[in-house]
Structure formats: C-alpha cells, structure tokens
Symmetry: C5
Subunit: 86 residues, 5 copies
C-alpha cells in the first residue's frame, strides 16, 4: 500500500456500472515526511476520507459480472500519524 494525500475529486457521469455511487478522490503520493511526490492516482473512497487527509491506498478486486473482475485502487485507511523511527 502507498501513503498519499487527498488533493481533489473527480467528477464523472459517464462511467462503468460498478463505479456508480462511488466517490472518486484524487490522491497524490507522499513520502514518509508527508512531502508530496509526483505520482497522482484516482482512488475510490471506502473510509469517508476528505480533502487534505493523509490516507493509505490499496488495490481491490471487485466482480463486475460473472467471472469478470475489476481491480480498483481504493482508500482503505485514514492515517492519523506517521511514526518515523529513524
């Protein structure tokens, strides 16, 4: 999983069925000192994240229909604290 910061949102009406009702957030990768990196992704929110939150982003595999799977990048945790030990 990667550390990222929520930096915006995606507005889309024309999308595949399994995305219906999903909140699509714009997340930007951060390093362990919360400095923004170049990589930007779109992730489905699964934990009630909002703009400015530091989050954990992982992959989900969701069935679209019989035997067809879609891999979705998802926000799976809101990070309260990054504890750096060295």
């Amino acid at each position: 999983m990667i550390l990222a910061k929520v930096v915006g949102r995606i507005v889309s009406n024309q999308k595949s069925v399994e995305l219906t009702g999903s909140k699509l957030l714009l997340v930007q990768k951060i390093d362990r000192h919360e400095k923004l990196r170049e990589d930007v992704h779109v992730a489905i929110d699964r934990v009630g994240a909002g703009s400015g939150d530091v989050v954990l982003v992982g992959e989900w595999s969701v069935p679209e229909s019989r035997n067809i799977y879609q891999d979705n990048m998802s926000i799976i945790a809101i990070v309260e604290k990054i504890q750096n030990d060295e």
Copy 2:
C-alpha cells in the same frame, strides 16, 4: 486508477480472440492539471470514449477460457472535471 487523455487509436487485425470487437485506444497519462506525461498505454474502451477525452483507466480481469484470465487495461470513466483542492 490513473488519469489519462485519449490521444489516438490502435489498428490491429491479428489479435487474440478476447480482443475481437474491442476498440483499442491510445491513452497518455496526465497530471492533475491535465499536462501530458511520458507514459503511454493501450486501453480497451468500455464507456464510449473518443479522441481528446480525459479518462480514468483501470484494470479488468477477463476470462479467456476455462481458468485462464487476461488482465486488460480499460477505460472505465470519462472525466468531466478534475477538481483540485490544493
């Protein structure tokens, strides 16, 4: 999922069976200000996207035959607006 822009199309007659009938679009990664980045991919269109559209690209796992799966990069949404909060 990544943000990308449709920049062209792939013409192919000799392809594997599960690609038959698929529209193969050329997509180029963009950053959150819609600036084109270096990464170029080919994605199967699943939402009626066309040249110039800003799109969301994800992975689909489709059964080719009994117990054999193919992971296809697919366009799963057309983006109307990228809302940048910071």
Copy 3:
C-alpha cells in the same frame, strides 16, 4: 497494455512446465511514435508475432496446477497502425 517492438528471442531449455512449447520473445517498449524506450520484457507469443513487429503486450493468468496461478506477460495483438490524433 503496452506498445512494444519484438527485438529478439530467448533460448531456454531449463524452464517451468507451463512454459513448455511457448515461443519466448524479447520485446522493447516503444512510445506512440514507435521510438524505442528503455524497458525490455520477455513475452509469450500468442498471435504469431515475429522480429520487428509492433505488438500489444498484456498479462495472462494461467493455472500451473490446482489453485496455483502464473501471471505471464503475453503478446496479444500485432499492431498494423498507430493512429496518432494529436
């Protein structure tokens, strides 16, 4: 999926069972103007590709044995034309 060019072949006698009989081609990533990039991969040919061909490379998940899957990079289409719209 990525765009690549077939630039060679791999000779291997000592390989895992599910690769037996597979033609292993050396493919090098290209950009949308067919310029060679640094990334080199080995892909199983599934469409009769040969040296110099521009191809589409994707991932296949093939069962090795009961409940064990192997993800193989495979050539899934020969590209006749890359149509650049911008």
Copy 4:
C-alpha cells in the same frame, strides 16, 4: 518480492474492516547492500517484524467479503543475511 527496511509505523483508527488488528509498518526499499532507496510503502506485518529489521515484502490477496478481494502488501520474512555473490 522486494528487500526493504522497517523505518516506522502507521497509526490509523478509521480503516476498512479487513485491516482491523493489523500492524501497519512503514517500509523503505533497500538495495542489496542495504542502502536505503526512495520508495516507501506501508505493509502488514505477518512475521513479527520490528523497527530496523531488514525484511522481504510481497503481495497477499485476501477476501474482504464474498467475491471481493483486497491485495495487501505484506512483510513475509525477516532477512538475517543478504549474501552477495558478485
């Protein structure tokens, strides 16, 4: 799998159900001479790893619920020695 060093820990209360009770460690990629590289990830500890340990990080696919899978980056081994042969 990649070689990494445990450099910290993630504190999170608001997370998806399947992460409940998991120890989330901050790992930084290392090269074969144990020099730290740029890539930082968050991994679920499965072997009792702690801060400063050199570890092996791999991917696990865990069912979240019926037919929905989550891919988790996990620490699957503590490395005692990296034996460099050349």
Copy 5:
C-alpha cells in the same frame, strides 16, 4: 516477465509458512545485452538456478490458505541465450 541475473541469496529463518523450504535468490534486472540495471528483487527458485545464471522472472499466485493468495516473484526459466535481432 523480466530478464535478470542471479547475484546472491537471502538467508531467513523467520518467514511465513508458504515460504518454508523455498530457495530465495537475489536477482538483479539486466538489459538485453546482459548489462546489470538498478532494480533488485528476491525470487523463489523453481528451476534449479544458481549464482551467475541469467534467468526469467515471473509472478506466481499461490494459495496460502482457504481463499488467501500470495503473489510470489519466481524464477521460471534459466536463459541459455538472448538472441538480439536488432
């Protein structure tokens, strides 16, 4: 799949159950002229590879327990010759 060279071995006693008895080799990515690149990975040997061998590295998905899968990077072929056509 990627081309790599076996450059060492990993010694680990504390590891997850499904790695028990596996030979863990240190592999470094090479280009098509066998020049070493920066990327270093750890792969499970499945074909009897040893130090100095040029090998093919792929991904395996192995069941850890009921419905839980682990993706392991594995050595799936020993390369005798890289035939460069251009």
